[in-house]
């Protein structure tokens, strides 16, 4: 019944006034002058910013990642022999590698706090959340490339189904990095590291339990479901990334 009142009010306010052309022209003139006098240099776009961060990530973390990826594979080949790899163990290995490497990245993401740079970083135009986002993007892509490499090597030397392994790995990859992104969005800087670690260990635990109690988890029985799950994670990851890259979610959480 409020609709009647609403309509009455709208009618009362209906635009019966028209702005004079002169007034608009005055404004245009003022605006143009003001614009020409006050242009500040345009800042670089987020994509340029992202690219610049590659240099600052440096080479150490990549070496560490390389080492962590190659050594397990080497151990397997040398000591256990490829024939011991089943579908399940292969997937389990890939997933653990994914989690391990992402956790390795955490100290690097965490650098800002450790070296007390984060207040200065937070008080800049791009600020800390976009900085973290760019580090996450670069490191996760690097990790993905490494793990796919391992997957390829494994599928050459064992009867493991490459497609299935990749899908399972991608699912976990999506779970890990979406979790990381969500934490970056919602948690204060100082607490991030603890939450990251807890999340990583949590996932490892879940993985181990799955392997022990659900034999068919990784052997292709649930291929479609896992594939769909990875797609959902991919979508959500892109969504979260865009949110962080956009300015509306731009809140710097810094504690005292």
């Amino acid at each position: 019944m409020e609709k009647k009142t609403e309509n009455r009010i709208r009618r009362a306010f209906a635009a019966k006034e028209q702005v004079k052309e002169q007034s608009v022209n005055n404004m245009i003139l003022l605006a143009r002058t003001h614009w020409n006098e006050n242009i500040r240099k345009e800042n670089i776009h987020f994509s340029r910013f992202l690219l610049a961060q590659v240099r600052y990530i440096g080479w150490k973390i990549w070496i560490i990642e390389l080492v962590v990826t190659i050594i397990p594979v080497f151990i397997l080949f040398k000591f256990l022999g490829w024939h011991t790899i089943t579908q399940t163990t292969a997937v389990f290995l890939l997933c653990c590698l994914t989690i391990a490497i992402s956790m390795l990245c955490i100290p690097f993401i965490y650098r800002s706090i450790y070296y007390q740079m984060y207040e200065i970083e937070a008080a800049t135009f791009f600020s800390i959340k976009k900085l973290l986002l760019s580090r996450i993007m670069i490191l996760s892509v690097g990790e993905l490339v490494g793990i796919i490499g391992v997957g390829i090597v494994m599928s050459y030397n064992t009867p493991v189904d490459f497609r299935n392994s990749m899908v399972c790995m991608l699912f976990l990859f999506g779970a890990v990095w979406n979790g990381v992104l969500r934490l970056v969005r919602k948690v204060e800087m100082e607490k991030l590291c603890r939450y990251f670690l807890a999340y990583g260990f949590g996932l490892l635990f879940v993985m181990t339990m799955l392997v022990r109690f659900q034999q068919h988890a990784f052997d292709g029985t649930f291929y479609t479901e896992i594939f769909l799950g990875s797609c959902i994670f991919l979508g959500y990851g892109v969504y979260q990334g865009r949110l962080l890259a956009r300015w509306s979610e731009d809140v710097c959480c810094v504690r005292a």
């Binding site: 600052y56 070296y115 207040e119 200065i120 900085l131 810094v254």
Partner: protein, 293 residues
């Protein structure tokens, strides 16, 4: 250009760090004075836009900084009290890194860094690793990064700690030059830093602003309370226990020259002295700083 702080409060579980602070800041140098723990740093972080207040608003030129987000930080330069550096950075690397974060284009970065290195006398050390520099130089590098984006508002938290007297003077000159047409807020517990360059001061205690005004208007509060005298060593000892001593100097003839604060003179030959800001500071915060030594 006006920065309005309206009823800003920051509450933590166990304490109220900033308690209903309201301030209108206009171009020029503003000194934010107060002892450690008074809430200055917290207030500055909120002004910098890197900490959200529990309640209250900060409005820059009529627009709340919550609405401006990145645009506000774009015109802002901040130097925190404690800050570090990534160990692998040289001075040039560091400034380039922060320039990227501030959104500067490559050409602007180059130009700005060259200019700042010269102005802050850091040209000789630009290829040196920052972790190897002295405290004073590190702070200069910190100030340089704050100036990279030509900020309209500059907020410096204890910027002169660790600087030697010569550097302090150079710093004051740099600031005076910079503050023309801009808002500069410096927090410090070293009163002499701001005494001569600040147009206005705000004094903070326990999270509240207890006084604001120009140096002249603030020291009016203690006219008639600052005394000068010459006494024997023993007398000096007695006086130190009774009143707040601002300054103590042992003269070559064995006597002691004292500057102290009291409602009435404590010795027959005490004469009134012209009050200064550091006298006011000690009046408000007895014994809390090493001022005047």
């Amino acid at each position: 250009m006006e920065l309005r702080i309206e009823h800003i409060t920051k509450e933590y579980k166990d304490k109220l760090a900033v308690d209903d602070v309201s301030l209108t800041i206009t171009p020029g140098v503003w000194g934010l004075l107060g002892a450690n723990g008074a809430g200055k740093t917290t207030l500055m972080k909120m002004i910098a836009g890197i900490m959200t207040p529990t309640s209250g608003k900060i409005i820059y030129d009529g627009i709340s900084i919550g609405a401006l987000k990145g645009s506000y930080r774009d015109i802002f330069g901040y130097l925190p009290q404690e800050f570090g550096f990534y160990p692998e950075f040289t001075v040039k690397d560091y400034l380039e890194y922060v320039a990227v974060l501030k959104g500067l284009t490559k050409s602007d970065t180059k130009r700005k860094i060259a200019e700042l290195l010269e102005r802050l006398s850091l040209g000789d050390v630009r290829k040196k690793r920052i972790v190897k520099l002295s405290g004073g130089m590190k702070r200069r590098v910190g100030i340089a990064q704050a100036l990279l984006n030509d900020p309209e508002i500059l907020v410096l938290d204890e910027p002169t700690s660790g600087l030697d007297p010569g550097e302090r003077i150079r710093f004051r000159n740099l600031l005076s030059e910079f503050a023309h047409d801009r808002i500069v807020v410096i927090s410090t517990h070293i009163v002499s830093d701001v005494e001569y360059i600040a147009n206005q001061n705000a004094i903070m205690k326990n999270g509240k602003i207890i006084q604001t005004g120009t140096t002249e208007s603030l020291v009016k509060n203690i006219i008639g309370k600052v005394w000068r005298c010459h006494v024997s060593d023993r007398e000096a000892g007695r006086l130190e226990r009774e009143v707040q001593v601002v300054n103590l100097k042992n003269e070559p003839d064995g006597t002691t020259a004292l500057r102290y604060l009291a409602d009435e003179k404590k010795t027959k030959d005490s004469s009134l002295a012209e009050p200064r800001l550091e006298d006011l500071y000690l009046w408000l915060f007895p014994q809390e700083s090493g001022v005047g030594r």
